[in-house]
Amino acid sequence: MLRKIVNLITSLKLTIICLAAGMALIFAGTLAQVHLGIHEAQQRYFQSFFVWWPPEGRGFKIPIFPGGHLIGAVLLINLIAAHAKRFRWTWRKLGIHLTHAGLIIMLAGGLFTDLFAVESHMRLARGDTKNYSEDMGRTELAVIDTSDNDLDQVTAIPDTVLRHNREIDHSSLPFRIVVRNFYQNSRLKMLSEAGEGARPIANQGPGATIAVEPAPRATGADERDVPSAAIEILPKDGGSLGTWLVSDGLGAPQTFSCGGRTWMITLRPARYYKPYSVTLQKFTHEKYAGTEIPKNFSSKVTLMDSERSVNRDVLIYMNHPLRYRGETFYQAGFQPDDSATILQVVHNPSFIAPYVACVIVAAGLLVQFGFHLVGFSRQRRSAIA
């Protein structure tokens, strides 16, 4: 029995089945991008263990195909197991060993990246200084204690908690927060423009005059969700401070008092704070003469890090990112009127894996096919002779 299992997981058939399943999955996932958008298709097909049907919200779902993580993992196990079982050192097999070792590094690196890499954005208008970047996919409810003049105390509640927990009770807050409604994506309209029958979901602050309509998830590469929620603030010593509308679509934070302190609440993109700051000096958007074809985008920023006594100007432009303290800043976009730059900030501890893997696999393939070629021309020569 054990032997059968070992034979199965080390078999070449399994390799071929995995590769073929991978092809089918990638093909389907690529076509699905037309309707789902790259992000959603990626989550459903590639960054999952199974592809489910129907996708969401029908009360039941069944797995219909292995997802990217499952196929990748089985392939990885298959590769490692096959080599562990059959490994014998000969020069003739050098190419194969190298190729497969490189592939193992690549697959493992890919899995590692999926698990640990963090992508975020930093949007800077000219003169702006920021010491945080923002996640484009996740939001947080920030509750800020502003009573201290020098230091704001921020309690951030991730959207995953908001979505699932009806009530939030945190020791640093003198009140409980009850989530009344939560919309992953929404459209905000002034009540006067929303038409008949529209009712606000909040009774405090600007939310009392705004109607919130749920909207389908954003699919385009440039679109993003506007999450909104109605939350009720319940002081721990009893009573209620009313229901408030918090939304990524609202501008400034809203203020209220509780427990003798002043609080601000806002629903905003999740933030990653950094031990250094970045200031935008200048954003340049060059075009080819007489056309609208962009020639170059560049951001001149000042990097300030008091811990490491760094204070220098850096130019970030296409294909020339800034790498600093494990993070990389790329010129990713800009405000349509060129008033602000958007930098993509990536933290990826395993970014080196594909570089190493590529070199090893390429060397392996060269050696392997080189052997074939030499063997082939010898055969021919002897055939002709």
Binding site: I16, A289, K295, N319, Y330
Partner: protein
């Protein structure tokens, strides 16, 4: 006779091409359109000869690079004649039926019934311009994928008309009569008007008439500057600053070469401050007036002067545009396309009889075709100062080139006409594809900011396209195996084995290049966007090829497939590769979707269906194959098969 046949064929082919290429000297008393076609201008961010502007504009408006008008421009060089009329003699050009409209609904918009006629003149559209603009603007709001045939057609017409109107106002206002005199009057009245304007600002009495004259002209030139499609006026090298200009030019040639070109209108507005008109503007004005007056010697004389001025002031641009003019006239890819077809037919014929002579003829023709193809490819690299592949058009050129080279190497080794047939077929098909991809205008367009990196274009893109080349070559070899095996008796054991070897070797080659190219693409993405892999459709397409190669090779190593299985899988490789090359672009999503081609969709589907059909044919029992039916009856009892698998992974 047989011995000399290859040489005779080669000499005849080379001779007929050379005859095509001989420049035709214009008669002395004719307008020298060829010379005019070499004048450099800046359009689309690139300095190019007027000839290129004429050809690309016609391609957009007319669908072809040449005209055949009765009583108007026709044949070779007709593009420049047409452009000269558009630039200088708009009322005549307005009557040329050049705008191609084939959509019945678009014609119905104007109350016209569809007939044999598909070309219309600007004058005919003139009453409907507003309507066309509105309809075009509506479909412009849609993504290319969502547009109906009517919406695409009306948008094309609108863009063509807009381009035409801008062209008419590029060098002079379209209604200009005696433009040179107008300019003289303008520059003379500028100082007086400037004084009047100062007086007016100071609140003193001023000469209103003087100010009004100039103000009218200024408005006229502002309009001209807004309309201009062509930036015709090069920067003047200022004395003393040339060292600086040179220093910056060395660092980034395209940037400075394109730096300070202006439209005629712009230049005239600048001349108010400078107090004099740019010499090129004056020459253009005189040339235009001479053209309208049908004064050929004056036209040619001032054209000479302008040419000399450019040769002295803009030597780099002049050299490049002269070369590009030559490149346009030689049409290397059209020439080699013809040769590839001939070579393919000769190679196929060689399997039927007279084999050595025909095979060698095909081989020599292919070498000639490859030489011309190579000249074209390298010319484009010189003109663009880029690695060979920068857009879909150039990828087709390069894929053909790469496949032809590998196929010729195979032919040199195996000497059985198979490599030659593959080279001819792939060379021809890829160049045909390139020809149809050129419809959107300039194929040497400037690159988007993110692509502006020669290192990655030279490595990632070249490796990927070389992988495509090898995939198609392997697929072609497999097709030859199937077709010869099933439909003819010419596939004997020796041929079958060498075909299998070739196919296997080329698949290995494809695996190596596809893999390296894909990973290099990932590394480029990591360098410029911070992620190695983003599941972008084009990336997925590339990895599909790598996976399919891996499956094919492992299946063969594992002994799951033999000769025929390898062939069937390799033909499916054609399907995968065509999906990766074209199919993913039609999805209209992702960072690589740089060219949506609705028209290509049926062709792509047709190609895929044909490949599936071939796979089905190949799956027929071997007893039904003509080659093996006879073989099994007589000499060859065993099925074609590989020697034992060399190794397993």
């Amino acid at each position: 006779m047989k011995r000399f046949l290859p040489w005779i064929i080669l000499v005849v082919a080379a001779g007929s091409i050379a005859a095509n290429w001989l420049p035709t000297k214009p008669a002395k008393d004719e307008f020298d359109f060829a010379k005019f076609g070499k004048i450099p201008v800046l359009v689309g961010g690139r300095v190019k000869p007027l000839d290129t502007v004429a050809r690309n504009s016609l391609l957009i408006i007319h669908g072809k690079q040449e005209l055949r008008l009765e009583g108007g421009p026709a044949g070779a060089g007709s593009a420049m004649q047409w452009l000269t009329d558009v630039l200088f003699n708009a009322p005549v050009a307005d009557k040329y039926p050049v705008f191609v409209v084939q959509n019945a609904e678009v014609l119905g918009l104007f109350g016209w019934e569809q007939s044999d006629r598909k070309y219309f003149s600007f004058a005919e559209f003139a009453p409907f311009l507003k309507q066309i603009d509105e309809q075009g603007a509506q479909s412009d709001k849609l993504e290319a994928v969502q547009r109906s045939a009517y919406q695409s057609a009306i948008l094309n017409l609108r863009n063509g008309l807009a381009l035409y109107q801008r062209l008419k106002n590029s060098i002079q206002p379209e209604d200009a009569q005696n433009f040179a005199a107008e300019l003289q009057a303008f520059i003379k009245s500028v100082p007086g008007a400037a004084k009047a304007a100062r007086d007016f600002e100071m609140g003193e009495g001023f000469d209103k008439a003087k100010l009004n004259d100039v103000a009218e002209l200024v408005q006229r030139y502002e309009r001209l500057s807004e309309m201009a499609y062509v930036l015709a006026v090069p920067p003047l090298s200022l004395p003393g600053s040339s060292a600086f200009a040179k220093a910056t030019a060395d660092r980034s040639p395209p940037a400075t070469a394109a730096g300070d070109w202006h439209s005629v209108g712009d230049s005239l507005l600048h001349s108010i401050g400078a107090g004099e008109i740019h010499p090129v503007v004056i020459e253009y004005a005189i040339i235009g007036d001479a053209y309208r007056a049908n004064d050929r010697s004056l036209f040619n004389e001032h054209l000479d002067r302008m040419t000399n001025w450019f040769a002295k002031e803009q030597p780099n641009a002049t050299r490049r545009t002269s070369f590009e003019f030559l490149f346009n006239r030689l049409e290397p890819f059209t020439q080699s396309m013809t040769l590839y077809v001939l070579a393919f037919l000769l190679a196929c014929a060689s399997w039927l009889g007279w084999s050595q002579a025909l095979r060698r003829s095909a081989f020599y023709l292919l070498l000639l075709a490859l030489a011309i193809h190579t000249f074209g490819l390298f010319s484009r690299m010189y003109l663009q100062e880029r690695p060979p592949v920068t857009n879909l058009y150039s990828s087709a050129i390069f894929i053909g080139w790469g496949a032809v080279i590998v196929a010729l190497i195979l032919e040199r080794i195996f000497k059985d006409g198979i490599g030659a047939a593959c080279a001819g077929a792939i060379g021809f098909v890829t160049l045909i594809i390139a020809h149809h991809l050129a419809g959107s205008g300039d194929t040497l367009e400037m690159l988007q900011a993110v692509l502006d990196t020669n290192i990655w274009l030279a490595t990632h893109v070249v490796a990927i396209t070389t992988g495509y080349s090898a995939m198609f070559l392997a697929g072609m070899l497999a097709i030859i195996y199937i077709v010869r095996g099933v439909f003819t008796r010419s596939l004997n054991k020796q041929t079958a084995d060498s075909l299998a070897r070739m196919t296997y070797g080329v698949v290995c080659f494809a695996t190596l290049f596809s893999f390296v190219g894909t990973v290099l693409g990932g590394i480029w993405a990591d360098q410029s966007w911070g992620r190695f892999w983003g599941w972008d459709p084009k990336e997925n397409g590339a990895v599909l090829i790598v996976l399919w190669c891996a499956i094919t090779l492992h299946a063969r190593w594992g002994g799951f497939i033999r000769q025929r299985g390898l062939m069937i899988m390799t033909i499916f490789g054609n399907v995968v590769t065509s999906f990766s090359w074209f199919g993913v672009n039609m999805l209209g999503v992702g960072l690589h979707s740089y060219g949506f081609m609705q028209k290509a969709f049926p062709w792509l589907v047709g190609f895929m269906v044909s490949q599936f059909a071939l796979m089905c044919v190949a799956a027929m029992p071997l007893e039904r194959w003509r080659s093996f039916r006879t073989a099994s009856a007589s000499s060859r009892p065993e099925r074609p098969r590989f020697s034992p698998a060399p190794s397993t992974g």
